[in-house]
């Protein structure tokens, strides 16, 4: 297990390293010096001079050797200095990220876990039930084929405009003051529901299809046939097939995480839901490069953390890895 973990950790560190390097490299070497023109804007603002002198900005400075600039970027990163946003001046980027990340987690985490659990169940049902499969399967394919943002548009139209039962943008009404009051919480949940629902349904299709295919494969496997010939109950055969199908689905979760986070960015754009993805795209539109870099880094870190959790889950449920752990001890 130590080896398994060490390998994973190496991958995460390498990914983080590449992400930080991309983050410094691209703005630094893009033609047209985008950073320089943004700094020119800072000059006119109150306190702007100080920002330009900060170590973070110095890491893009032209008067130092490149390697120093690069190292400076890392140093300011570890001190939590990601520069200052120009659209929401003079708020530090790290501050904006800290506020946005909650909105990502609160939508993505329940949507992914619920769609994974229910999708697996639905897929197993479809795989065992030939009649239901003939109309469930096209439905699942339709869900998983929908681009996240298009499905969000459909959901907005149906639930927000036609039926008019849910608000369709922002995380809470503009008149509300955030706090633990009942009206605010209700308001918040009503705004939260549609982005969650979109991510849940699009995700569900993919997991269901994956499990359905696994089940069809497993129920032809020798152990299933053998159990049946011994007279085992259908329920028991199903349970074993399901358990065998779950493992690749966990691996699938790790592979899909990138796509899911990409989907979250798009869904947030449709609902103007102020998570990291929304901030990132806003930053692109306003040419707020420090905020762009900061939210990119935060998204990557989030993806890494999610991968780490999936790894731990995999270890817990895969008996083979557990067994090898005992042997090592």
């Amino acid at each position: 297990m130590g080896k398994y973990f060490g390998k994973k950790l190496a991958i995460y560190l390498a990914t983080f390293f590449v992400a930080v390097t991309i983050n410094w490299l691209i703005p630094r070497f893009m033609p047209g010096d985008p950073i320089l023109s943004m700094l020119a804007q800072f000059q006119g603002l109150e306190g702007g001079q100080e920002i330009i002198q900060s170590r973070f900005v110095q890491s893009f400075g032209l008067d130092q050797p490149l390697i120093y600039q690069y190292l400076n970027f890392w140093r300011s990163l570890f001190r939590g200095d990601l520069g200052v946003s120009i659209t929401i001046y003079p708020r530090p980027v790290i501050d904006i990220i800290r506020n946005s990340i909650l909105f990502d987690i609160i939508v993505v985490l329940p949507a992914v876990s619920l769609s994974w659990i229910i999708g697996n169940k639905a897929g197993a049902f479809s795989g065992f039930n030939k009649k239901a499969d003939s109309f469930l399967m096209p439905f699942f394919y339709f869900l998983t084929s929908s681009p996240y943002f298009w499905f969000a548009i459909v959901v907005v139209y149906v639930f927000g405009i036609r039926l008019n039962i849910f608000p369709t943008s922002h995380a809470y009404s503009s008149g509300m003051t955030p706090g633990f009051t009942l009206p605010f919480i209700i308001n918040f949940i009503r705004h939260w529901f549609l982005p969650f629902f979109t991510m849940f349904l699009v995700g569900l299709g993919g997991w269901a299809i994956g499990m359905r295919n696994m089940i069809i494969y497993e129920k032809k496997a020798n152990y299933s046939e053998y159990m049946k010939s011994l007279g085992a109950k259908d329920k028991m055969v199903r349970r074993y097939a399901f358990r065998n199908g779950v493992l690749p689905q966990v691996t699938g979760l790790a592979i899909q995480l990138g796509t899911i986070i990409s989907g979250a960015i798009l869904v947030q754009m449709v609902f103007s839901y102020p998570g990291l993805g929304y901030r990132m795209v806003q930053a692109v539109q306003n040419q707020d490069y420090f905020l762009l870099q900061g939210s990119f880094l935060a998204l990557i870190t989030m993806a890494l953390a999610a991968n780490f959790i999936v790894d731990i889950v995999y270890m817990i449920i895969d008996p083979r890895i557990r067994a090898s752990y005992k042997e090592e001890k």
Partner: protein, 287 residues
């Protein structure tokens, strides 16, 4: 009839074209490609032209309705479809190519090279593709269809590499590969003539999935306004619809129809893929 006999002799192709899912998928895909080819020829408008009254629901004159400004949504959709299919095709080719090569080499060679290549694959896999593409596209002043496709193709290949690698690993211990090795064939010949040739059907399916992956990633970028700087695309139509509050104004046709066609195209590709999987994999066939 002679052709039919020939097809019948080839088990794989026979099972592929008699599979119902493949047939449904292909017909749907064919219809949509036809729309992309013929649509721009038969439309009376151009996609930038103010074709008629704004806020017009689908009708005989404006098949998919018009935008708020009076542009024809049908014209925009068919032109956008062309660009989307083109990007998907180029990007899918690039992604499949990279994925297959890395997977083949890593699986066949093994050892340190395998470790290094898989490390690279896992790093790229962990990245949320869209976030990386946003960063790169944001700093690119000019974006054309081809460099968009290349950009997307460069980021969506990792799962192919992993899948091809495991296939190559199981094939490399087979007798005909051993024989090839004893005959002192060079590595390229073994890789392409023995290993790749034996998973050709698999590689074809990989291409279909990469085609889809590229399309979805590209349309997402277009929706964020980071698509090709000139021309029209499906993502851009939907972005405009959202920006102009089309849904709040009840203009469902503007935002929903282009996406619906795109979704149907992806569904058709999934059907082809699943059908081919059943055809090539006898274990799944009888269901």
């Amino acid at each position: 009839m002679f052709l039919w006999k020939k097809i019948k002799n080839n088990e794989n192709i026979y099972y592929a074209i008699t599979n119902v899912k493949v047939q449904i998928g292909f017909s749907l895909f064919f219809l949509i490609v036809l729309l992309a080819i013929i649509g721009p020829m038969i439309t009376r408008y151009t996609y930038t032209e103010f074709a008629g009254p704004g806020y017009h629901p689908p009708s005989g004159d404006y098949w998919f309705g018009t935008t708020l400004q009076g542009r024809d949504v049908f014209t925009q959709t068919v032109f956008g479809l062309r660009s989307t299919i083109l990007v998907g095709f180029i990007g899918g080719l690039i992604a499949s190519f990279i994925g297959v090569i890395i997977g083949l080499v890593a699986g066949y060679k093994g050892g340190l090279l395998d470790e290094a290549l898989m490390m690279l694959t896992n790093v790229v896999l962990t990245f949320p593709t869209l976030a990386v593409l946003i960063i790169v596209a944001a700093y690119l002043p000019y974006r054309g269809i081809v460099n968009m496709a290349v950009l997307v193709g460069l980021t969506v290949w990792p799962w192919t590499a992993r899948a091809v690698r495991s296939q190559a690993m199981s094939l490399k211990s087979s007798r005909f590969v051993d024989l090839s090795r004893i005959s002192a064939n060079n590595v390229f010949r073994i890789l392409f003539e023995d290993i790749a040739a034996n998973m050709f059907s698999y590689i074809f399916m990989v291409f279909i999935l990469q085609f889809m992956g590229t399309i979805l990633a590209t349309v997402g970028l277009e929706f964020l306004g980071l698509g090709p700087t000139r021309g029209i695309s499906l993502g851009l139509i939907m972005q405009n619809a959202v920006n102009w509050n089309a849904l709040e104004l009840g203009m469902w046709w503007w935002g929903i129809i282009p996406g619906l066609i795109l979704t149907f195209m992806i569904v058709s590709l999934y059907f082809i893929n699943t059908g081919l999987d059943e055809a090539f994999n006898p274990k799944l066939r009888e269901f």
